[in-house]
Amino acid sequence: VGCFCEEERRVRANDREYNEKFQYASNCIMTSKYNIITFLPVNLFEQFQEVANTYFLFLLILQLIPQISSLSWFTTIVPLALVLSITAVKDATDDYFRHKSDNQVNNRQSQVLIRGSLQNEKWMNVRVGDIIKLENNQFVAADLLLLSSSEPHGLCYIETAELDGETNMKVRQSVSVTSELGDPNNLASFDGEVVCEPPNNKLDRFCGTLYWREKKYTLTNQNMLLRGCVLRNTEACYGLVIFAGPDTKLMQNSGRTKFKRTSIDRLMNTLVLWIFGFLVCMGVILAVGNAVWEREVGSLFQSYLPWDPPVDNFLFSAFLSFWSYVIILNTVVPISLYVSVEVIRLGHSYFINWDQQMFCSQCNTAAEARTTTLNEELGQVEYIFSDKTGTLTQNIMSFNKCSINGQTYGNRPTGTSAEGENPFYKLDFTPFNPLADPDFCFYDDTLLESVKVGDLHTHEFFRVLSLCHTVMSEEKSEGELVYKAQSPDEGALVTAARNFGFVFRSRTPGTITTTEMGQTVTYSLLAILDFNNIRKRMSVIVRSPEGRIRLYCKGADTVLLERLHPCNQELMNITSDHLNEYAADGLRTLALAYRDLSEDEWEAWSESHRCADKATDCREDRLAAAYEEIEQDMMLLGATAIEDKLQEGVPETIAILSLANIKIWVLTGDKQETAVNIGYSCKMLTDDMTEVFIISGHTVQSVRQELRSLRCPPPPPHPPPPPPPASPPPASPSPPSNLMDNISGEFALVINGHSLAHALEADMEGEFVSTACACKAVICCRVTPLQKAQVVELIKKHKKAVTLAVGDGANDVSMIKSAHIGVGISGQEGIQAVLASDYSFSQFRFLQRLLLVHGRWSYLRMCRFLCYFFYKNFAFTMVHFWFGFFCGFSAQTVYDQYFITLYNIVYTSLPVLAMGIFDQDVPDQRSLEYPKLYEPGQLNLLFNKREFFICITQGIYTSVVLFFVPYAVLSNATQSTGDFYFYLTVLLPCTKRTPLFSLPVQTLFRIFPNQFHFVGSAQSTLLQPVVWLTIALATAICIVPVLAFRFLKLDLKPQLSDTVRYTQLVRQKKRKMGRLGARSGSRRSGYAFAHQEGFGELITSGKNMRLSSLALATFASKHSSSWIDTLRRKKHTHTHTPPSASGEGQMQPAKGSNLACGMNL
């Protein structure tokens, strides 16, 4: 409605007349497609856009022409009507619910400021330019420009779960001039005009200008409240409607997602086209036959059978007979194929939803197949792209070990591998400390003793942890502390300190209040030297109540150990050893230190810091230099080790999946060390690997160089031909890739995001893919969401393999959408990934069941179903072809018309459907036990063009037997005047089951259909023993060769599944279970500290102290989005150095000396 040509939007507040000139959309939304009147025509029109439906409509029209009609019209209209009405009913129900939800939304109330007073209006009556008042916990009715709020600074907080799935809160702030317009009276006279961009779907962007009182104010996304958000922790706020109804960003985003198709779908479509071709060929052959017959025989036979009035020569007759045969033979392309396939997939989806073993009782979520059309593709997956955080790991950090003054704590009596199995050893902190967090687990009581004894180092150690952080606390009631940490690492550390008696209670911009060993102490916070990725450390400078100024620092061991006072040498060596030990266990480590400052030192530094802070140019650098200046000569306190907990069953799942020949790539935004660590702990990387390659070049050349050097392994059997350096042709990687394939299984590749950006460029991607695919494990770290999607696309493009992406956060959405199959882990990171996914469940380990059990079964069932379906239809239909030669090519049907009508939808669909839904070749435990069973799916062995031709040939063979055996019997028989039709009718259901399948249901159906036909003739015919003898004969002739062939194949070249079944039969007992090997003992560095810059500033500024936790969330999201943006931009401009570079890489194999790698940060 006028928005197609809208180039910019002008909205004047409180001026409906002015705004009406532009005919902006109203706030009434309509997601429903039909109403009662339009339903039938529109729905039918949509349905007939499906080729299959149109084809059958065309057949129906043909059948209405009496000269052509070889079958009466009901043979087509019954199935067509059935299919159409089922779809229509489904559409109608869907639409009904949409109507209902539309109505509900449109009739929500909101308060609109009309002529100076607040009036209740329905949502749908809100117009662009209106000012509306929102109260706490209300949904935002339209896209609003925030004008003022009840909170200071015009701030307000929103939750955007409905919009982007993120459950944390975000802060929005009004333009300063409007934030002063507090009450309705002032707002009623507000007449500012907003000029902004036209409606679009970019959730994180808005640009516009507010003109008010001759002044311009720039508007950004920070000033906008989008429809779908909920106002939180804000009493009330006022907003100006900018976009309404369908123009809102929420509605603009709800476009239909791309429909994913499976490879079987595509193959099926090709095959259906071929069958069409085949159909036309048969039609032509029979039409030619008809022409010849009518000329040679039919013209003479006219005394008994004259031509129909419009037919006057044999050519015209042949033309008509062509169409008649098209009608008769249409059962080779049965209408029920598509419907049956959908039904089967739906059934499989329900089985996934119902699977108890994919139900997580902790989060009370069952697995969910959100897309019902992809199930069989689950059985063909070759590449899995996995996110790390929240997918492989729980994103829960636990304080595991520490080293204080050269003494290591936290070793469990039972050893490290027995996680949570010894509740007796779990320390109980409550008697010692009423403020302790009961969920905190620690097993070494020597540390607690040391605290109780009052060891100074230990106290200082925990004091650092309780002071040096950016955590916000929220104390709902006395003693019930909730920490809002920006990274889980920090939360774990502060919680640890809390349990050991150094409880962080609250903070203000200038103070930190703690309870130390039961005594409340308030430190004045002098400065926060914030964390960033280059510094890899953070410090606070506090003044204790006694007046002593001290700097507390925590950071990566590599950086921190360099800045210690020389007298720490001995302690440093011991602590380094401890750090190495922790790293070897896959723990994330941090070192802690302090420095005493004199009042003068502080004053001096404070001055220089203020200067740097105020500087306008190079502020960052100057601040960093100032920080650097004071973080010197520190005294080492110790080190902490935090465990990034893996999700349950991850190593086992990965092991099984890789046994099933599925390659797993981890794509993570984390740092290289973290990612490699996780790679080891989840057994993707093992010590058995010959080499772990690391690519971290920053330039095109260096990345190419690194890629090339990988391709020449130390003892190369024959060196790969080096591609021309200028621009390697895309085909060149193939010979080296062969080479790489030969030696695969021993290498792993770790590539950094910035290198990946180069590797993904057009001229290098081939090289990259062939190298990466030769490696057993690939880990991409520091990748952006966009790059995740690009990697997936790359594999899709180069490998023609089925890809599966699994992730849990909003940053995985692009990857989930671009992979063939997207799996969402419904974890803590919101529901956006789940919403974009095709399958969702709550634990990574369910993936093995989804793929190896459900996927495999689905694939198997679908393939068998298709084979069987094509087979039966060919067997059924080709009989008409043979009969054509005996009935003057007149398109006479062999079967009863009702039989033809019902053949596909009743008689044969049910057993086939039952098979397609229920069939199992091996039980689920076996398919997990023998992951190799998954391979046929990846190689696409069970249904491909070859299998199709085998089915077709078999079908044609069956049709020959079906036709010619009764023919021979009949032409010799003296007796019956020949209900030849009946012979075939009876024969067919009995003989079509040559592919013997494994279901009891089938045997029932075998006899069932016989009873129905030719009420009159059935009695007479079935009494004749010849009929039964013929049935038996034809069945035997059909089945015996197939049986013999299958037996031979099974006997001489058994498939794994056959063997599994066989052994199961033979032994009938379970095999002994064996556990997978214990944790690998490799030693590598584990420093990792997921942290971001900027919180120190936030805290000291004091702006948001009132709702600190909310602000924290805002800040996090804002920061992360800008980080993504930066990397995106980087991708487009191909610059070399990303701003967040974690360090220049003189990267070595991670397997090398453990400390060295940590130092290389």
Partner: protein
């Protein structure tokens, strides 16, 4: 292995249902578990029978099929051979054939029917009931336009259909403005040769053989599918206002002058004709020669004369007409194919069984190593 491990850990977790995670989820603990039902159907544990093709099942199956089929085949073959069948072609194509002139001089308009006689000799006596068939060749009763050219409701005695036959009957629907009864091409082409059989004994006397014309149609056809309009009373009145099919010489209610209740749509010859044949060469039951008494054969060996009232032209489309005499057995008429086919299939099965057994013993890979490559 993993599966079991996973399963056990899974169960363990179910036991302690009040895990810390669940309390954070719903708060009050009144959370309804979304756990799927543990039914055999939903968990895909329905009992199933899986036929596994092992040597132990397949090879015996082959032998059993062979052992069953071969005796059946032999039985069928012997039975079929014991059936006596005699066939004579009386079309009159050959100039020496007695019906040559009738065939040549046929015209649709002639009122005078042409009669010809064919002599033949039965070498062996036919002992039991003998069935007499007429056979037609190259006659496409299975042509689509032919098959559909009938009106079943008219034949079922529907009065409105009688006066207003279905369009399917075109072009044999009406004649001179009157509806045709029975309408359609099938009825119009009713086989109307009359066959009479005489036994010629040693002193050249012709003894007519009694031919029963009742009981040649299927019971369901005669009593269910075909009915005269308004019962069997006074067919002449019932069929008033209709006309006979174009090719017919007599109206439908005068088809059998000798027996009153064999007229109209329930005339058995008509019913037999109306059941269309599946193949262009077919035979239809014409008469039954009942066995008279215990000892004398129904048809003793010797010379016979077949008198044909030649009404039915087939030469125009190169058709052939035959008369067949046959006895029947439990398995129907003479049918050597079925017996031979059974014997062949049985032998092949047996042979295959042996071959597979040899192959199985020589090359078997499974029994020796039941280990599964993983």
């Amino acid at each position: 292995m993993i599966a079991a491990m996973m399963a056990s850990s899974y169960n363990a977790k179910e036991e302690d249902g009040h895990h810390s995670g669940s309390s954070s989820h719903g708060g009050a603990g009144a959370v309804k578990s979304k756990k799927p039902d543990n039914t055999a159907f939903k968990q895909q544990r329905l009992p199933a029978w899986q036929p596994i093709l092992t040597a132990g099942t397949v090879l015996p199956a082959f032998f059993v099929i062979g052992l069953i089929f071969i005796p059946i085949g032999i039985g069928l073959y012997v039975t079929s051979n014991n059936i006596k069948e005699f066939e004579v072609d009386y079309t009159g194509v050959d100039i020496n054939s007695p019906c040559y002139s009738c065939a040549k001089n046929f015209s649709w308009n002639s009122t005078q029917s042409c009669v010809c006689s064919v002599n033949f000799t039965l070498e062996q006596p036919f002992e039991s009931n003998v069935f007499m068939y007429y056979g037609l060749s190259n006659f496409y009763q299975n042509h689509r336009r032919y098959v559909k050219s009938r009106d079943d409701s008219q034949l079922n005695g529907d009065l409105s259909a009688l006066m207003n036959p279905s369009k399917e009957c075109e072009p044999y629907r009406t004649n001179d403005g009157l509806p045709i009864a029975p309408c359609g091409a099938i009825a119009n082409s009713l086989f109307n040769d009359t066959l009479d059989l005489y036994y010629v004994d040693s002193n050249s006397t012709k003894t007519p053989i009694p031919l029963a014309k009742k009981g040649i149609a299927w019971w369901t056809d005669k009593h269910v599918k075909f009915r005269n309009p308004s019962g069997n009373t006074n067919l002449t009145v019932t069929f008033q206002g209709t006309t006979k099919p174009v090719n017919w010489r007599k109206p439908v209610y005068e088809l059998d002058p000798s027996e009153a209740d064999n007229n109209g749509f329930i005339n058995e010859d008509f019913i037999v004709w109306m059941r269309t044949a599946a193949l262009p060469t077919f035979r239809k039951l014409y008469r039954i020669i009942q066995k008279k008494s215990g000892t004398t054969p129904t048809l003793p060996s010797g010379r016979y004369i077949l008198d044909i009232t030649y009404n039915y032209p087939v030469l125009s489309f190169d058709g052939r007409k035959r008369m067949i005499l046959s006895t029947i057995s439990w398995m129907g008429g003479k049918n050597p194919f079925l017996g031979i086919a059974y014997i062949t299939v049985g032998s092949i099965c047996f042979f295959l069984g042996v071959v597979l057994l040899i192959i199985h013993h020589k090359y078997d890979t499974r029994n020796n190593s039941a280990d599964i490559p993983n």
